[in-house]
Symmetry: C2
Subunit: 329 residues, 2 copies
Amino acid sequence: MTIYDIAKKAGVSASTVSRVVNNKPGIKPETRQKIEELLKEYGYTPNETARGLVNRSSKMIGILITDIRYAHYMDIAFFVEQELSRAGYTCLIVNTGTTDESKVDAIHRLAQRQIDGLLTVGSTFQCDAVKEALAKSFPDIPIAMANGYLPLPNVKGVLVDEYNGVMECVKLMQENNHHKIAFIRPNSTPANLNKQKGFLQATREGKAPECADWIYQAATSLEEGYRVTQQILREHPDVEGLMFCEDEAAVSGVRALTDAGVKVPQQVNVIGVDNTRYCEICNPKLTALDNMMLEMSMESSRILLESLNGNNPPARIMLFSRIIQRETT
Amino acid sequence: MTIYDIAKKAGVSASTVSRVVNNKPGIKPETRQKIEELLKEYGYTPNETARGLVNRSSKMIGILITDIRYAHYMDIAFFVEQELSRAGYTCLIVNTGTTDESKVDAIHRLAQRQIDGLLTVGSTFQCDAVKEALAKSFPDIPIAMANGYLPLPNVKGVLVDEYNGVMECVKLMQENNHHKIAFIRPNSTPANLNKQKGFLQATREGKAPECADWIYQAATSLEEGYRVTQQILREHPDVEGLMFCEDEAAVSGVRALTDAGVKVPQQVNVIGVDNTRYCEICNPKLTALDNMMLEMSMESSRILLESLNGNNPPARIMLFSRIIQRETT
DNA sequence: TTGTAGGCGTTATCAC
DNA sequence: GTGATAACGCCTACAA
């Protein structure tokens, strides 16, 4: 069912039907009504592909996420999708993987799709490979980055102050008289390195500055969180606190501790980051740094939408994280 | 950069360029090579929108999910997206919400997009409202339903034997000498009603047939799982087992029990369904019915891909669930 | 082996 | 108020 079909049935031309479909003025009321009835009767829906071709706008937004399965990203994806679809956009969600090539590859795949805007989720996209690919493939559509920023003219970024956030977390443990604290991160994304800096700062100012070396690596998974905690327990039986970069490994760390007969939080404090649902499921419930995922999603989509509407929102925005105290501190 | 631009630079016509881009035969090797070089040099990528218009194929697949945030759905979405994008398709993931109108609305929104295929996730789409909307909006594109089926000529369904699965779960508790078992479900999706039937069957055959009335309702959330468990404890202090329809409420139920001083699994057994990550985070770890989400995603995308390729896979496939025993039974 | 012409469904720009 | 007509970028008969 095309506008031509409708036009024929209404005894008018296709342009008239088009005008009605798009609510353009300058149509005789009777004509409009008659056409609207036919539109409804035949269940006409405009072909967005054809529209996209002539309007050079697809009403589609690309969303880049390394792995949608991680709870934190998923929440962002959900809210952003809600928000954008309310504004009439359809979301192309692409799981990019974590390597440079796979991220660049995802960008190339999206490039064929004439998307109107792009949103990246996670600081991992704040890297040179992505910057270059974006500059080449999307030089002039609005790009918003949730938890990231790249110095390109069409990129807007929303960041969270995780440096101070993690610093406060460590200080919280120190105030609980837990000074020997290990830091565990999955990989070297800008966000995680930032957290590490916060950890180092607080550690150096604290009573156990030797812990500045207690930096461990563990992927975002239950298995790895368990493994690394056992390792830390072995290498530093006197450990008093674990500062994880994300919740998934952290909850597993809590389990590793209790399995080893270590009392949480009496002997060891544990803090995660992201404040996902996992925190509440964990027993004892996990204290976590809330990096304002909800606000970040809302700000990112708002900024993207504003750019899409031709406004020019600030290039960078910073949100402040906060600690949600539960049972592991 | 269009094929016309390339054609001009190569001194040939646009159709020749088109043929090269699409690897069509009948091009002089030198011409082909020259064009290919230009293609690379200028970083040409075909405009999928224009292609879609003429080919009547967008290489896009719509994915309908009520709420991507629920771990179980999310995993499916992830695997399906991986699988389909490997086959050259881009996924439009739409969170539909749970009401009939919002689901139908999502279908209408997708209808404008000329998608090549559709995949629904969750038995909630197995309802009359959706059936009608699909019949009207997508009468002739392949549709695959993960955990669902609708009797339409273009619909293929992958189902799980949750009836027997839940029955076996209840029997497992009965074998542990736990007979007074309550059943908790979030809403009346076909899948959940099926589980309920399994529960009833096992209960009637067991030593405490009066429990056939112990059917409770609790939404898929930590809060509700906690609330309903307290309620059950109040109304039936002698309860010996909890059979939840999904993990999220179940893990919270476990916490409600331990908070109330009830020993799990000694006094009360708990079993969830879906076998999500939550099971491992829960302490004690949650026994759950694995409804083969991974296999389901793979089967669904495989079936969809086959239909897309013009084959005609079986209309319905049934997978068998299995119990993953952990620490709550 | 290559080019020309027509069309996919829609919108925008002119005419009338 | 309404109707031709020409794009948008690509593909595919058919012709050369």
